[in-house]
């Protein structure tokens, strides 16, 4: 289906009876060139880029639940490319460039809204660290500027500048960062992948891999055996569970991250703001709710719900940064399961089993990476070699000592 202004007008006049489902609901074929396990944002993006850029369309995406029912449906929708390390930053900048053209490419309104991302700093040493980060961003071709207190007072006058413990000294500003309507990303990729012939098979859980002589040749699913030349696993949140079926232990722990939405308020927060003295970030949705979050709960969990101490901590951070939100009522809280990797960076790589590929370990930065993750994974699946911007996201970096430890915390997943 093609969307346009004229189509919206036309359908409006005809009582909106002409809209059709965005993707088919096919039964699985006996075999495919590539099976992607996991119909979330990254899996669907992978299928789309395989079809669009690498002209491979004989693909199935098998999804255990409904399309986009995992973390693409439960994140805080932020896009940005403000990383520091040379292994990470070019990848996220590549992703941001793909975001900027996403709606035109998919012919689907995913509300990419580049209202800016602002990281507040509170001390001289933190300023130095942010200057360094800003320079790393500029070197990768991204945009960044350093704002002083007077600049901040113009755009975010409601911050607690004179906070006695953490006075605000300025901020690192990335104007091209922002937010995206997260579900629409999954739907847009699904629509375009489907229209190119990709079979998206929902309610079809991959229960095991078919492996013979160290080669993977398909998956067993709840809808029967499906064979394929290559299998790409893309199930962040459940990575250890899925790879555990063939005895592969991953450098990953699963942790729960909570997200929060307040009641709807008048427009007040421009873009995304992060607190530098604690872990708190906030943006405002198009419906007016403040969307915010902070730290993971910090213990292994598959529960998709967290506990109260982190809720308290996040809300304290919010009120310390902008006391005005103390009166906003909390509307909803939910949790999602993160693949927390040992160094805080993702993995897009082959596995020790031939024709079986892995994409995961996104920690809580997976949403912004969706387009580039899909593109780079498609590149790996189609060509067998890593994409230039994802060439360091390999399994062997742990044994080789080439960790990509953005936060410098070592091999403790709950600190990344």
């Amino acid at each position: 289906m093609k969307y346009s202004g004229i189509k919206v007008l036309w359908e409006g006049l005809r009582g909106n009876m002409g809209w059709k489902p965005l993707w088919r609901n096919p039964d699985p074929k006996k075999s495919y060139d590539i099976i992607i396990v996991g119909g979330g944002g990254h899996g669907l993006a992978t299928a789309y880029y395989l079809a669009e850029k690498f002209k491979i369309t004989n693909i199935a995406v098998v999804e255990k639940g409904w399309l986009g029912s995992g973390n693409i449906g439960r994140n805080t929708t932020i896009i940005r490319s403000n990383y520091l390390l040379p292994q990470n930053q070019p990848f996220y900048e590549f992703s941001l460039k793909l975001w900027e053209n996403l709606e035109q490419e998919l012919n689907y309104n995913s509300m990419v809204s580049q209202r800016g991302v602002l990281n507040i700093f509170h001390s001289d040493s933190q300023r130095d660290a942010f200057v360094r980060r800003g320079n790393a961003m500029l070197m990768s071709g991204a945009d960044a500027s350093l704002l002083g207190v007077n600049d901040l007072k113009k755009i975010v006058p409601f911050l607690d500048f004179q906070n006695s413990r953490f006075p605000i000294k300025g901020g690192l500003w990335q104007p091209r960062g922002g937010t995206v309507r997260h579900d629409a990303v999954a739907w847009g990729y699904a629509k375009e992948a489907d229209s190119r012939g990709v079979d998206i098979i929902e309610n079809c859980e991959a229960t095991n891999f078919l492996v013979k002589n160290g080669r993977c040749y398909g998956v067993e699913t709840t809808k029967g055996v499906i064979k394929s030349k290559k299998v790409g696993v893309c199930v962040a949140g459940s990575s250890s569970q899925v790879m555990g079926k063939i005895g592969i232990n991953l450098p990953i722990e699963s942790h729960v991250l909570q997200a929060f939405v307040s009641e709807g308020l008048k427009p007040v927060i421009p873009g995304v703001i992060t607190f530098g003295a604690g872990h708190f970030y906030v943006s405002q949705s198009n419906k007016g709710g403040l969307v915010f979050g902070g730290d993971i709960d910090g213990y292994n969990s598959y529960a998709q719900r967290g506990n109260l101490p982190v809720i308290e901590d996040v809300c304290e951070g919010g009120v310390a940064l902008m006391p005005m939100i103390g009166r906003a009522r909390l509307l909803r809280i939910w949790g999602g399961i993160m693949d927390m990797s040992m160094d805080g960076s993702p993995i897009i790589d082959k596995t020790k089993i031939k024709n079986l590929y892995f994409n995961g370990g996104w920690c809580y930065g997976g949403f912004k990476a969706t387009p580039a993750s899909g593109f780079c994974y498609a590149h790996l699946l189609a060509t067998g070699t890593s994409h230039h911007d994802a060439k360091d996201f390999l399994f062997n970096r742990f044994e080789k000592g080439r960790l990509i430890d953005e936060k410098g915390q070592g091999n403790q997943p709950n600190l990344h």
Partner: protein, 94 residues
């Protein structure tokens, strides 16, 4: 979550620091065969089960003991709490 500390009784989990899989108690011998592989496994690879998990909690804001907590990662239910040093002593005595 409340952790039933063997010496102190029920304590709030926010008094503790979490250190992950209790396999960290069993550091490989550097002189053993394949010690490199064993250390990569020890340092970086985890079973990460959905279900019963033995894990280390450090009572930083309490008596600073290390506990081995057996907990269900799907329901957050705590099934058993033991002092890590007792477990280690018992294992060494064998």
């Amino acid at each position: 979550m409340l952790i039933d500390h063997p010496l102190l009784g029920l304590r709030d989990s926010s008094e503790f620091i979490y250190m992950g899989d209790a396999k960290l108690l069993n550091r490989p011998n550097w002189k053993s065969k394949n010690s490199k592989t064993k250390f990569i496994d020890y340092g970086y690879l985890r079973k990460n089960p959905a279900g019963v998990h033995k894990e280390l909690w450090y009572h930083e804001q309490g008596d600073r003991s290390w506990l081995v907590v057996t907990r269900n990662t799907v329901t957050h239910e705590i099934l058993k709490v033991e002092l890590a040093r007792y477990l280690k002593r018992k294992a060494n005595a064998k």
